[in-house]
């Protein structure tokens, strides 16, 4: 059975279509990653799943419950940790957890027990009784995560849980997420960090422009792509002209596919080879034509390549493209209730 099941979710904000028929099926106990550039519709999807937002059309089932008909029952099952940490800076961390426990109707015994366990597990004891206003980003995020876990949710929804965090905080949060998965919690995590999704998720979906465009385990998605990636430079900084000429040249080598001139890396050539031995043929061809080989590196396909293949652009380019179009002020207004 799927713990999270959405069908054909559509959501618009005025003229902007955020979701254009999004389908997600997440099995029980799965750590599921949602990868996509900012503005792809990740947050909108998560907000619909945790009943903060109603879709214009489509179906949402969480743990078999229809989220649109019985949102309250769904709320009992999910823990949601939003992207923007919402913490009352006047309260201490412990008081915030107590408030959260009361909102989920834990009795006094459960409450103390749960709070103490979470403080111990997340190593918050040193600062938990200080006011939240004094916390660092990592502390706030840990506290927010603890708040989302207070009622032992079956489903945990994390919206960009490590954005803007230092490496240490990030890895401790990653460890906790994996631990929760091992204990049987179904976890949905959104991120625009490739390595985060790659490291954490059992399965993943790439969302772009309000739709799922690829789905599967990260390994599977990479294998499906096939071939090794190769970067070739004939000198440290080639001109565009020169690179185009070399491109013509290597395209004729048997077993070479998809040659792209990468402007952002000094006009290096990015290409895909089918087999290991193509590399030697490639090198010989370049040397025969009296070019130097400055670098020739080979790598397994990454998730970025998967993204590139599915959308025709790299994740970074997609981020840059949307960053100029987005109106963050307007978006924060939209997220207000």
């Amino acid at each position: 059975m799927h713990v999270i099941d959405t069908q054909e979710l559509v959501k618009s904000y005025g003229p902007v279509k955020a979701l254009k028929g999004l389908n997600l099926q997440i099995p029980k106990g799965c750590l599921y990653g949602l990868l996509g550039p900012n503005g792809a519709g990740k947050t909108t999807t998560l907000r619909i799943l945790c009943t903060l937002l109603a879709p214009d059309s489509g179906k949402v089932l969480i743990a078999g419950i229809n989220a649109l008909q019985d949102p309250r029952s769904v709320r009992k099952e999910i823990g949601y940790v939003a992207q923007e940490v919402a913490i009352d800076k006047i309260l201490s961390g412990r008081e915030l957890l107590q408030l959260q426990a009361d909102l989920y109707h834990l009795n006094n015994l459960e409450k103390e027990d749960r709070i103490n366990k979470l403080i111990a597990r997340l190593q918050m004891s040193e600062w938990i009784d200080r006011r939240c206003g004094t916390y660092s980003g990592g502390m706030k995020r840990k506290l927010d995560l603890a708040a989302g876990l207070i009622h032992k949710p079956k489903v945990l929804i994390l919206d960009e849980p490590t954005v803007g965090l230092d490496i240490e905080s990030r890895s401790s949060i990653w460890q906790l997420i994996k631990e929760l998965r091992d204990q049987g919690t179904t976890i949905l995590i959104s991120s625009h960090y490739l390595e985060e999704i790659e490291f954490l998720s059992d399965r993943m979906a790439i969302i772009d422009d309000g739709r799922v465009i690829a789905e599967g385990s990260p390994e599977h998605l990479k294998q499906e792509l096939g071939g090794d990636r190769v970067t070739l430079k004939v000198r440290e900084f080639s001109s565009q002209d020169e690179s185009e000429k070399v491109k013509q040249l290597v395209q004729s080598v048997e077993g070479v596919r998809q040659v792209v001139v990468n402007k952002s890396q000094g006009y290096s050539l990015n290409l895909v080879i089918e087999k290991e031995e193509v590399l030697n043929r490639l090198r010989n061809k370049v040397l025969e034509a009296e070019y130097q080989v400055f670098t020739l590196t080979q790598s397994r396909p990454s998730l970025d390549d998967v993204y590139l293949q599915a959308t025709g652009r790299t994740l970074m380019d997609a981020e840059l493209a949307v960053s100029t179009q987005r109106d963050l002020k307007k978006e924060s207004k939209q997220s207000m209730r």
């Binding site: 903060l52 006047i90 107590q98 909102l103 209730r337």
Partner: protein, 298 residues
């Protein structure tokens, strides 16, 4: 229930019915307990904020006292017998300051909610399986009401210290009841605004625009008989006036709510009339605003 179990024997049917009823009863008790728990937790948060950031409370008590002391002294040498019933100006003003203080406090009730909306804290509450989202409203009302009563008592003690009188037990009762009705109405209005307006800047703007004009166009600072007829009309339909006059009556001697308290251009109104208008206004506001709150909160 009986229909569902019609193949069961009669005693069993009865048992099923009794059990179902008791489960329903337990569920009801449970939901009341839940509602209590969440409302108390939310109220506790508001009070913790107040205790740790007490400057607003101090300012909220100090400001009316300054009004009372400075404004009360302004007309202390005015000819005697100028005010209706031969009241001195300090006593006259006391009722006005009490009502005005409770009014502006309640008008600000929406601000914390607005900030919770803006900072995303409200989302934390909306994602939780609250028994009823009305607990968000209840907690605001409990909080604002307690503060208003506290402020009013401070004003009343100071007024009595300044020799402006004390309403007595019956009068005190009228003061508290009147304030409760007013605070409920204005809190509802303010929470409605907090959900209807786009941000705190707009909310503060509305509060600014509403606050002082309502004070000046009421009988807080002067009786209707002092006013030109257009202002008298405004004062006579101003909700603040309906709260001020019963409290002023409580101060002016033996309390009788059947006495005429407002000589309005449209006719005379006694104390019961004033309170009825206030109650009607409160109910009206709740009916007007609850669809908005429900829409925003569900």
């Amino acid at each position: 229930m009986l229909k569902k179990h019609k193949n069961l024997s009669p005693p069993l049917t009865l048992l099923v019915e009794v059990m179902t009823n008791s489960t329903i009863k337990m569920m009801k008790i449970n939901s009341i307990a839940n509602l209590n728990q969440e409302t108390l937790a939310l109220t506790k948060r508001l009070f913790l904020q107040l205790i740790r950031r007490p400057s607003t409370l101090f300012a909220g008590i100090l400001q009316p006292l300054i009004w009372l002391i400075l404004f009360g002294a302004l007309f202390s040498n005015a000819p005697e017998g100028l005010l209706p019933g031969g009241m001195n100006y300090g006593t006259f003003l006391g009722a006005g300051v009490i009502v005005f203080t409770a009014f502006s406090g309640a008008l600000n009730a929406g601000l914390p909610v607005m900030f919770d909306r803006e900072f995303g804290f409200l989302n934390r509450l909306l994602v939780a399986p609250l028994e009823s989202r009305n607990s968000i409203i209840f907690s605001s009302i409990i909080y604002i009401t307690s503060i208003s009563i506290l402020q009013s008592l401070a004003i009343m003690f100071t007024a009595s210290f300044l020799g402006y009188g004390w309403p007595g037990i019956g009068g005190l009762f009228v003061v508290v009841i009147t304030l409760l009705i007013l605070v409920f109405a204005v809190t509802a209005l303010s929470l409605g605004l907090a959900f209807a307006l786009p941000g705190h800047i707009e909310l503060i703007a509305v509060i600014f625009v509403v606050n002082l004009p309502l004070l000046f166009a009421s009988t807080a600072l002067a009786p209707i008989s002092f006013m030109p007829s257009w202002l008298g009309w405004l004062a006579a339909v101003n909700p603040l006036t309906f709260a001020i006059e019963p409290i002023r009556a409580a101060y002016s001697g033996p309390l009788n709510l059947a006495n005429v308290l407002i000589q309005a251009p449209y006719g005379d109104l006694n104390g019961y009339g004033c309170l009825s208008v206030l109650i009607g206004l409160t109910i009206g506001l709740f009916i007007l605003i609850s669809p908005l709150l429900n829409r925003k909160l569900s």
